[in-house]
């Protein structure tokens, strides 16, 4: 049922929607090459890179921004 005023009382519940299924290319991050600049975290539109630089494939849409903004070529986009 729709609540009065369409109030949603569950902050952040869009997490139910696993946008990883949109992906056609997958970012693969090589931690050996990583220089910890955090560009991939800062610029990810889908909050899919955590502080340890692990990629969350549940939500990553495969846009490729992280790979494009990585100064040390540590991220490669490979076809799913």
């Amino acid at each position: 049922m729709v609540s009065i005023g369409c109030v949603i009382k569950t902050p952040g519940n869009s997490r139910n929607n696993k946008t990883g299924s949109w992906r056609t290319f997958k970012p693969i991050l090589d931690k050996e090459k990583c220089i910890d600049c955090d560009n991939c975290i800062i610029f990810c539109p889908d909050s899919s890179v955590n502080k340890q630089h692990d990629i969350d494939y549940d939500y990553c849409k495969g846009c490729g921004i992280c790979a494009n903004e990585c100064p040390s070529d540590a991220i490669e986009m490979v076809k799913e």
């Binding site: 990810c44 539109p45 909050s47 849409k61 790979a67």
Partner: protein, 288 residues
């Protein structure tokens, strides 16, 4: 830059792959922190983050009509103030259509009344959510669905409305331009705006992969090109003091920016030359 354990804009939102609007809001919310109420007009941001019964917002969020986010934000700010809750950030987000066209009067009123709030215009230079119609913020020459390139038209025939200077003319304490491609500069301005007593306005350029026509991985690169060519100038006006906050080492020709986007691909040398002259004049005026 401080990286939070958890972003205040949750994933699972329906923004296009590579959407710059979500980067814009994620960075702003992380800078403002949990103690924030957000308001947003209709537009891509609202549509992609709140498909009922889901929301991506981790802070209280109000979706309002297209034309009244300035008015609603002033109401929220007044209600909080009357309750003695002076430490809550009130931030309104509006697209360029919602800000420079349809929401202009309510925003102007809010600024005039001096509410302690921050308004961020995330400018993707057209009405994207409804299918790329031109807005007052669409730049000269851009092809949109209501300013299409073709035999009878070369695209948008008017220069971009200078919204940050319209806000500055209100005499409010803080006005700034920003870009998602310069996150440190942007976040610094958001924090400064939040600390400012009274109204603050940030005009943020946000490249849009779908509306501008470039590959999704180039969202940030496009923002950088805009700044490096002088097509978008980063500055702030803090209590009347104007300052350029980023100077490109050498200004690149605007062609480098225009030629990488589908919306400008059709432009001939004559139009590119005209755009270069616009940009040169603007840079000269602002001292870049």
């Amino acid at each position: 830059m401080d990286i939070p354990d958890k972003d205040l804009l949750a994933p699972g939102h329906r923004g296009c792959a590579g959407c710059g609007a979500s980067i814009a809001v994620k960075l702003a919310l992380n800078a403002l922190g949990k103690n924030t109420v957000a308001i947003s007009a209709t537009g891509c941001l609202e549509v992609m983050t709140t498909p009922y019964p889901e929301t991506s917002w981790e802070v209280p969020f109000i979706h309002v009509a297209f034309e009244n986010s300035g008015a609603v934000a002033s109401g929220v700010e007044s209600a909080l103030r009357i309750q003695g809750k002076d430490d809550v950030n009130v931030v309104a987000f509006g697209g360029d259509g919602g800000t420079v066209d349809i929401g202009l009067q309510s925003l102007s009123g809010a600024m005039e009344r001096g509410h302690n709030m921050l308004y961020i215009c995330y400018d993707n230079e057209a009405y994207m959510n409804t299918g790329i119609q031109r807005s007052g913020a669409t730049p000269y020459g851009a092809s949109t669905t209501t300013s299409p390139k073709g035999t009878a038209s070369f695209g948008e025939d008017k220069p971009k409305k200078n919204m940050p200077m319209i806000m500055a003319a209100h005499g409010i304490p803080y006005v700034a331009t920003a870009s998602i491609a310069y996150p440190e500069d942007y976040v610094k301005k958001v924090k400064k705006a939040a600390e400012t007593k009274g109204p603050a306005y940030i005009h943020l350029q946000q490249p849009c992969t779908t509306g501008w026509g470039f590959p999704s991985e180039k969202t940030i690169e496009m923002g950088r090109l805009a700044v490096e060519t002088g097509s978008w100038i980063l500055y702030e006006i803090d209590h009347g003091n104007f300052e350029i906050t980023f100077r490109p080492e050498e200004r690149r020709p605007v062609k480098d920016y225009l030629s990488t986007q589908k919306r400008f691909k059709h432009l001939d040398e004559e139009h590119i030359e005209k755009i270069q002259k616009y940009v040169d004049a603007e840079c000269k005026e602002l001292g870049l």
